[in-house]
Amino acid sequence: MIGELLYSFLDWLKQIPHFWWWLAFTLVKIGAAIGLLLGMVAYTVVLERRVASFIQDRLGPNRSGPWGLLQPACDGIKAFLKEDFIPGGVHRFFYWLAPAALMVPAMMTLAVIPFGSNIGAQPMVIADLNVGLLYTFAVVSMSVYGIVLAGYAANSKYPFIGGMRASAQMISYEGTMGLSIIPIFMLAGSANLSAIIAWQTTSPFHWGIIQAPLSALLFFIATLAESNRTPFDMAEAEQELAGGYNVEYGAMKFALFFMAEYASVIMGSAIFVTLFLGGWSLPLPWLNAPAANSWLGILIGFIHIGIFLAKTSCMVFLIVWIRWMLPRLRFDQLMDLGWRKMMPLALCNIVFYAILLWGIAMFRKVFEI
């Protein structure tokens, strides 16, 4: 009886067309990825506060739940229950739009990041675009509008200065960010993030950080600048600007700005892991190739996701650590670093790798290796 029911259920499953399976799997992937990202955002806030406290010889929030693990819930409830106050004199439409305009790009980056190899036949990436990396740059370049709008909509001095500083900084570092990873394109021969990971899995020496260390360094610094983190947090220098572009915001809207910053930190870390640290792979047997479509393969698929999350968490920890160890740059130093040091270095890096790859190709041609 039960067996018959099971068989008829399996038959029913088989006749579901391909398209609906694809839709269902994609929706599940989107839901899981966004849920995971927001969960990580919540706990990155706790991590930041605890790490900051330990570095400054304090304890940090440790009262709510074991080791303060329920702190995000408390903060969230507080933010939701606060009065949603809109100050007079703001540009209302833009004031509403700005937090969303900052949060949406931070989450959209998720679409092209391969957070695992595959589980069964399902690749663990929401949309495997052939211009994946360019998509992330397009999305990242949109996030500056959120900050600019917040500064403009508030219609008051400090947020405006904060917004101006942020946009100048983000425009300056976007160029370096894009140029720094061109050697990775050339080495991997593709702009598709899955292909870039596949190139890195072939050997431990193929990890981007070993093949192109200067690219990794420049990209990391540019990521810090793009997400407005110390030592580049001019946009929210609280000693000078009383908080920066988000001064006039309160309650959940302020929390959204906060979450967007952490979301962009996490996404920056995830992109760094994908490009330079081998993505979901480890140079060990079973872990350096996409998982097979079997029961063991499904287990390995989940381990791949775990590896990716562990690597990303390490990068997030590094970024949090840097915030509490380094002083903030002055604005002119920041511009000087971006335009006169990092930009030329990134350009030289590209020329170096172009000549190197051309030389290797010529060498192979001449000696017919």
Binding site: H18, N130, L134, A138, S141, E174
Partner: protein, 187 residues
């Protein structure tokens, strides 16, 4: 309906919906925001114009996606939305102290503007009516990075280099203009 949905090339999310529908939505948005750039009935603030232009650019990028030209779409967003327009808005915000700058106009300007707009409309309409009816795109445009790169260094090498020289000249010009008047220059 069921058959078309299930047998479609479902790898591209935009082919789920009839392409024409998506096209008309995007085209409508592009025209709507294009009108808001020059004639916003609610506000005369240049910031609003700049942000409407942003929405227009994003709609046009969506059309490139419809043509499977993903590279073009990404570059459109990176260059126009991410760099050019943000600079526009940046300059507009810095250009007036009170952030209350509005467009003002005189009758002569309206008259000249009308003449230019009509001339442009005639030109565009004449082109539209000369064109044969648009056939649907049969094959996807090869919009991949290697394909475009190959075209740039083979078939379109000379225009490509000419543009780069032009851009270099523009950069040199900007550097010269933004330099403060030093003593060396007055000699």
């Amino acid at each position: 309906m069921w058959e078309t949905l299930t047998n479609y090339n479902w790898e591209n999310i935009f082919s789920l919906l009839p392409g024409a529908l998506v096209f008309y939505v995007l085209a409508g948005l592009a025209i709507l925001f294009g009108i808001l750039v020059v004639a916003n009935p609610f506000s005369r603030s240049p910031i609003n114009s700049g942000l409407s232009l942003l929405a227009t650019v994003l709609s046009l990028a969506g059309m490139s996606v419809l043509l499977h030209a993903y590279f073009l779409a990404a570059v459109q967003v990176i260059v126009y939305a991410g760099a050019v327009l943000i600079l526009f808005i940046f300059v507009l915000m810095l250009s007036r102290k009170e952030m209350k700058m509005v467009f003002t106009s005189t009758r002569i300007r309206y008259a000249v503007g009308t003449v230019i707009a009509l001339a442009l409309a005639c030109l565009l309409l004449s082109i539209v009516f000369q064109m044969p009816a648009a056939a649907p795109v049969k094959e996807a445009v090869d919009g991949t990075v290697p394909a475009i790169g190959r075209l740039l260094v083979t078939e379109y090498l000379v225009p490509f280099e000419a543009i780069s020289v032009l851009l270099l000249a523009a950069i040199v010009g900007v550097v010269h203009l933004s330099k403060p008047n030093t003593k060396g220059e007055s000699k």
